[in-house]
């Protein structure tokens, strides 16, 4: 059995029966806005191009791109100085190449604060490269904070791998 209801009549009934003086929420047939319209956007990201062999050949020091940092530290450790110097030399000899340095942190703490900490690591690498002859406009330092860990276990060994600066060349970013 289907009941036929006249909404207007009912609205009147409801309004008429309000015995309390402060039923401010009382409305008749208020349309509830359809707010389901969330349109989905999909991003593609960036796709790489081919780099010269000296940047990718595992036998070349330039294939190594990561500089690791101690906890809460932002200085480049002595063991990474040769690597940074080699990349500076490549940038000096290949002025058409640009570099993006991505600073990273371990997962502990606020995501946004970690963006700022990762930035300090990227800035340290950039400063060293510029001191060794790379042009300021060749190198951009940015931070990925804790968002792109290379290791996901919750251990000091793993966190140490995530406290790093990665050097990317034109075509890789």
């Amino acid at each position: 059995m289907k009941k036929l209801i006249v909404p207007a009549l009912l609205a009147l009934l409801i309004a008429g029966c309000g015995s309390s003086p402060d039923t401010g929420a009382e409305q008749s047939g208020a349309p509830v806005e359809g707010r389901d319209g969330v349109k989905t956007v999909t991003t593609d990201g960036v796709s790489g191009v081919k780099l010269p062999p000296e940047l990718t050949d595992p036998k070349s020091i330039l294939s190594k791109r990561s500089v690791y940092f101690d906890y809460d530290k932002f200085e480049i450790k002595p063991e990474h100085k040769d690597l940074v110097a080699a990349h500076a030399k490549f940038l000096v000899n290949n002025r058409q190449f640009k570099m993006l340095i991505q600073g990273n942190t371990d997962e502990r703490g606020s995501r946004e604060y970690n963006i700022a900490l990762g930035q300090k690591r990227a800035d340290a690498v950039k400063k060293a490269l510029v001191l060794l002859g790379a042009r300021e406009d060749q190198v951009e330092s940015v931070s990925l904070g804790e968002e792109k860990p290379s290791c996901v276990d919750q251990s000091e060994a793993c966190w140490a791998k995530n406290r790093r600066g990665d050097m990317l060349y034109s075509g890789e970013f």
């Binding site: 409801i14 359809g34 956007v41 946004e112 700022a116 930035q119 800035d123 792109k148």
Partner: protein, 428 residues
């Protein structure tokens, strides 16, 4: 705001509100791990009308109220009860119900539905509220949330937040991040953005129509403003270096952001269309995580200018900086309550990162959780609950915690990490 006339109930309504319910197809499932000490006993009668539809409606209302931790649902004495029925107040009272909601749902000529209800005080035998809402079939749940909001407000004296929305990010596997928008009960989740790269720091515009966030789709952090209905995205900040931590001014015209374009992480303001960038802080330290005060006069932020990360505040146009937090060595992510009187933040202590609330007048701090990895607090628009991200068993979950710490609800996604929650404003 309507003043509640249900005084006795208001007196026992000491605790807090919430807004989550459970259903079969939930992408977010919710578990309540606490409840208010004095829950208001209320009967939500079986409503009249087509059985399947009315059952769907009342289950939304009951779910909202029950999971808020504020109400105890009492079985009805009569069934079903429409807004035209004569309520047996004595019978309702003898079952312990202080209030009874009755109603019905009916199809209209244009195939939409009209949901009608009334709420009665069983002691006074008088009507507390009555309303009708019209929705299309897919939005039937929205009518249930509206009715639950009215009942909540009448019985507690605070506006309900069952009709609001939340945003959060799901890491759905390697290389898949989704920025999702769901109803406050976790239902009706829809992806606003799907990306291979991380998305963080979603922030609702004051009108609830747009989200600002940080996306890493270009191998670096860039701030976007995304209109939810159209999917249109505007690059709000993409300067050399990192662009992050967006937050809206209360009038929705400006964003405060963190940029490294001039060296270091510093606060800037920018118009929502990306124009008119202005530097706000000039320190040699990290300045990040800005948030406008509710009156728009100040910006609270995190800085390590004193040696460890602490919360400070500066005039919205710049000027003198005042330190806000002093206890402990790590206090971050300031978020102001809707009434502007308190501040949620994350504090490190006993080896964990925990949600804390500071009363801004007295500077008293209360730590609300004993977690080890709380992040990204966000107030419900009525100020009763704080939504946070936390981690349980190595997996990201969302948790809603009442401002007194008594009610805790956990929201998790079956397959994936959930993080970066942001509770949206009231729907206008």
């Amino acid at each position: 705001m309507t003043r509640p006339n249900f005084r006795r109930l208001r007196q026992i309504a000491l605790c807090c509100a919430a807004a989550f319910s459970l259903a079969a197809q939930a992408q977010l499932s919710i578990e309540v791990t606490g409840a208010g000490a004095n829950r208001i006993p209320v009967t939500i009668a079986d409503f009249g009308g087509e059985a399947g539809v009315s059952r769907a409606l009342t289950s939304v209302i009951r779910g909202d109220l029950e999971r808020s931790g504020m109400f105890k649902l009492v079985d009805q004495a009569q069934s079903p009860l429409t807004e035209a029925s004569t309520v047996d107040f004595g019978a309702a009272r003898s079952r312990g119900a202080d209030a009874v909601a009755v109603g019905s749902i009916g199809a209209m000529a244009d195939s939409r539905y009209e949901s009608r209800f009334r709420l009665f005080d069983t002691a006074k035998q008088s009507q507390l509220a009555g309303a009708a809402f019209v929705t299309g079939t897919p939005q039937l749940r929205a009518a249930g949330h509206r009715i639950a909001d009215v009942i909540y407000e009448k019985l507690t004296g605070e506006p309900g937040v069952f009709s609001t929305r939340i945003a959060y990010v799901v890491k759905a596997g390697v290389g898949r991040f989704e920025l999702q928008i769901a109803d406050a009960d976790g239902q009706n989740a829809q992806a606003a953005l799907i990306s291979k790269e991380p998305i963080i720091s979603p922030a609702w515009s004051p009108d609830g129509g747009r989200l600002a966030y940080v996306s890493f789709e270009n191998k670096k952090p860039v701030v976007y403003v995304h209109s939810l209905a159209t999917g249109k995205r505007i690059v709000a900040a993409n300067f050399k270096g990192s662009n992050s931590a967006p937050t809206w001014s209360p009038d929705g015209r400006k964003l405060a952001v963190v940029l490294t374009k001039d060296g270091g992480s510093q606060l800037f303001t920018v118009n929502a269309d990306g124009s008119g960038v202005q530097r706000l802080t000039s320190s040699g330290a990290i300045d990040t995580e800005p948030q406008f005060s509710r009156d728009g006069q100040h910006i609270y932020f995190t800085s390590d200018r004193g040696g460890s990360p602490q919360i400070y505040r500066i005039g919205a146009g710049g000027g003198e900086v005042q330190r806000v937090t002093f206890e402990g060595s790590y206090n971050v992510t300031p978020r102001l309550s809707p009434d502007g009187k308190s501040m949620a933040f994350i504090t490190r202590g006993n080896g964990g990162f925990r949600l804390a609330v500071m009363d801004l007048a007295s500077r008293q701090v209360q730590v609300l959780t004993d977690s080890y990895k709380d992040e990204s607090p966000s107030f419900a628009p009525n100020g009763r609950m704080i939504l946070i991200a936390t981690e349980i068993g190595g997996r990201g979950v969302l948790s809603a915690v009442s401002v007194d710490g008594r009610i805790k609800q956990r929201l998790s996604v079956a397959a994936g990490d959930v993080r970066e929650p942001a509770w949206g404003p009231y729907q206008k």
